[in-house]
Symmetry: C2
Subunit: 319 residues, 2 copies
Amino acid sequence: MQDVANRANVSAMTVSRVLNGLPGVSPATAHAVTTAAEAIGYRKNELARSLRPGQQSKTIALVIGDISNPYYGVMAQAIETEARNAGFALVIMSTNEEPAAERSRINDLLARRVDGVILVTCDASHQYLARDLESGVAIVFVDRPPQDLKADTVLANDRIGGHAATEELLLRGHTSIGYLGDYDHVHTATERLAGFFDAMKESAIEPRFVQMGVHTRGVAERVVRGWLNANQPPTALVAGNNLIASGAQAAVSSMAVDTELVGFDFLPDSKLRIRIGHDVAALGARAAERLFEQMAGVDREPTTDVFPLQISRLVDGVT
Amino acid sequence: MQDVANRANVSAMTVSRVLNGLPGVSPATAHAVTTAAEAIGYRKNELARSLRPGQQSKTIALVIGDISNPYYGVMAQAIETEARNAGFALVIMSTNEEPAAERSRINDLLARRVDGVILVTCDASHQYLARDLESGVAIVFVDRPPQDLKADTVLANDRIGGHAATEELLLRGHTSIGYLGDYDHVHTATERLAGFFDAMKESAIEPRFVQMGVHTRGVAERVVRGWLNANQPPTALVAGNNLIASGAQAAVSSMAVDTELVGFDFLPDSKLRIRIGHDVAALGARAAERLFEQMAGVDREPTTDVFPLQISRLVDGVT
DNA sequence: ATGAAAGCGCTAACAT
DNA sequence: ATGTTAGCGCTTTCAT
């Protein structure tokens, strides 16, 4: 910046004024500064700027486990739109569902003084964020609640969802229903499983096919193939998320059985006939809203928004 | 940081040494500092740190148009893995395919002194980056080449792909083939279209159904419905990307016609029987490699990596 | 083993 | 309309 100032024969302060469009600079000098800046290819240093007290970075962050899953992609896009409308940039970071990576990313973001963080956590403790929350960093949990921290949270009602999905199959007369869920440390996965158990218990049926820790399409397909090859295979399945549903569907159709399938969360081209899910974009948008509320200094107790899950049946390719 | 120093009765310098694990501090003082830091909930300020000369931010950025499209999600995940292995953080930004947003994001990233940028551009000029490239910022273009700039580029061979997709349908005896493509300013879209025209010209067939500017599943579905309701509807279609393919497929199956369809890029659960695409993760990984090469100071002419597109047929649900 | 001084690039507050 | 001063939080260099 000093270089620009020298080249334009002005002080650094004047350069600052010109570059930030502040008043009190004659058009002539302004022009000289602009020219000088372009001549040397000057880039302002936002780091130095943000260092000054009271400066906002005008940036919020979204930390998620798996950006390759369109579920989170859609959520991210919704948040990006909200952020943009509020004049903020959104940076997205993916942790590969590793708690250690999540912590390291978040520490990093806070060290970089982002104004707020929206978090789809895979971590088992969030105590380390308590201080930051107190000191005014905005934090919102989406999809999965914090464990030992009070903070704004936006969720779908996964336990009820798991119950509804299972009940749907029970109502259709199935008595042997399998359940496949994601990692145990993923909140939505355990909640949905709990809902499954709730429904099974109500019907007094002992679950025989339950597999957690299924995180990819491939694993889901393999597990389902195994089940379907068993002596008394399940006649219906609940798939705990979109990728699992996809894998399970693949296994079922390749084995030419008519195992019925209910799947959570939509994949754009899913062939699933029965789906259960919610409006991810709305979830993301609400999270962004809550974040901006916090940033606006609204003083209130942490809230929890719970979105309903909806079950739908696909008839002849049309919902 | 000064607060921590006061609390531990040491100088700021000692605090810095402890927090960075530098040698030359007695265990006792180190402990005192750590305790003090925790007591006041101290967070180091990475901004101030990066301000010192010669500091790397250890961060690279990926700027894409639409994070809700799993095509880019998969690419992002691949790049994130590479970045992590290299000890870098990856920040992802989505521009909604708006050139202005892209520029603003990139200017912002460079103002924040990221070490490198991987870019899926939707912009028509990149001259504004020439200076930064000269001054040592690492930049790689992926999926779509720069317009008026020499820089490392990683592409799929889209024109040949468009040709191959069309030829496949011609070989199957179709003479009335429609083409749907993304926005005109998207390089892959125009290249694929060019390939389509190439193939049609070789067969001396006048294209009658061509629609560009189709960016969503819904629009694709609507356009195809329109075509199929025409007097002499196309008997086959080339869908210029994964979302278009999905929409077109929906239209075709809902209208119970047997219009044949070739689609670009894979959506996880696509029912497409003929697909043309490439390994997006490999594309992303290569881009990351090129970026790190640049950052390592390898002095070479800008390279262009071209990945082949592969066509595949789905038979009874198995590829 | 520890500290003091200086300065990274920028801007708010106060001159001129 | 423009410049000077000081300081944001940190680390490099050079003392002690």
